[in-house]
Symmetry: C2
DNA sequence: GTCTATACACCGATAGAC
DNA sequence: GTCTATCGGTGTATAGAC
């Protein structure tokens, strides 16, 4: 499993391409990533990009994976945290999720909205997103909320708060500051004591 | 204010173009509307489209307006309904909104997600969307929920339910059936008796 | 008004030389 | 691996016949 120097070089170039793609996404919008501008940013010919990615869709796919890995790392904090207080766990989870979404609008669009015409994540990429959802369900089960309806209500509540925050008050806290209230509201109808 | 025969003919052609655009959006996706395919669907030359719309963005704009007018019509049912029972009003509003979103995925993307690269609704088009939000806030004020935080919580809750329903169970009821529970949850923390 | 024809600048993708 | 050249497509625009 030793990655040779060639493979390392290849991986480094792939990483550089993805970094430049994120830059373009932040500058001009997620949908405005073009192969030629992307190549220009890296000082290479557009056709050379196809040496590292099979096409534009594969670049979006790799970005989708990177974004979900970042979310997974965010959830790792939950795993390591003290989980004796369900209310605190959920508040922490919701805050982290909303802040994660608001921190990078392009990433939010890529991960949670179907924002690129004609593009869909590959099965492999989607699997990571599913694993993240499963991790969140695991945390909820741990604090005593295990039924499907509650999990669905939680995803609706947190994704709603996040999407409103990102779309209507980016960088602010108009919905972020509703997290405590939302969690209390959620818990009081769930038979879990605070 | 009498619209002459020429103006009527013009309006009819404009409407036909928008109908064809919606068809294309349903067939191939909202972002895949092309001027040449659109013209072909209507049996006209692509250049003739510019006689009726200044460009592709103007077509998206007109579609955005049509979508928001449809939502406004949906809210008219609320205005005409018996509003003595707050719980029933909110359940009806949430159900109608989720069903409205799920009924037309392309319309949902256009109205509530920034799904077309580089496109934004014009100020005139956006005003209708704002008016719809105001109408919803008016209904909530009528049943005794007037504070901003509650209105924000309501938009987060309903938009979250709708987006989850559309994205993860289109045509189904996995989140739609949570509406009663969501409304009860919302009301019990709002000091409004059922 | 609507058509054809043409032009421009861009796009993703590919072929083939080096 | 990287390049140049090219293909067919796009949105947009214009000229000019009917």
């Amino acid at each position: 499993m030793t990655t040779g120097r060639v493979a390392q070089r290849r991986a480094a170039t792939r990483a550089a391409i993805l970094d430049a793609a994120w830059e373009l996404a932040h500058e001009s919008g997620l949908g405005e990533i073009g192969m030629r501008p992307l190549a220009a940013k890296l000082g290479m010919a557009a056709s050379s990009l196809y040496e590292y990615f099979s096409g534009k869709d594969a670049i979006y796919d790799a970005m989708f994976i990177q974004g979900n890995e970042a979310l997974r790392d965010e959830y790792r904090h939950l795993r390591d945290a003290d989980k004796t207080n369900p209310r605190e766990v959920l508040i922490d989870a919701a805050r982290r999720f909303i802040e994660f979404c608001d921190a990078d609008h392009a990433r939010f669009q890529l991960l949670f909205q179907r924002s690129i015409p004609g593009w869909q994540p590959s099965a492999e990429a989607y699997a990571i997103a599913v694993a993240n959802l499963e991790e969140m369900r695991g945390h909820m089960a741990y604090i005593g909320i295990a039924d499907d309806a509650s999990a669905d209500m939680w995803t609706a509540l947190t994704s709603g708060l996040a999407s409103q925050q990102v779309a209507n008050d980016p960088g602010g806290d108009r919905w972020l500051r509703l997290v405590e209230e939302a969690v209390d509201m959620f818990l009081t109808t769930r038979g879990v004591d605070e």
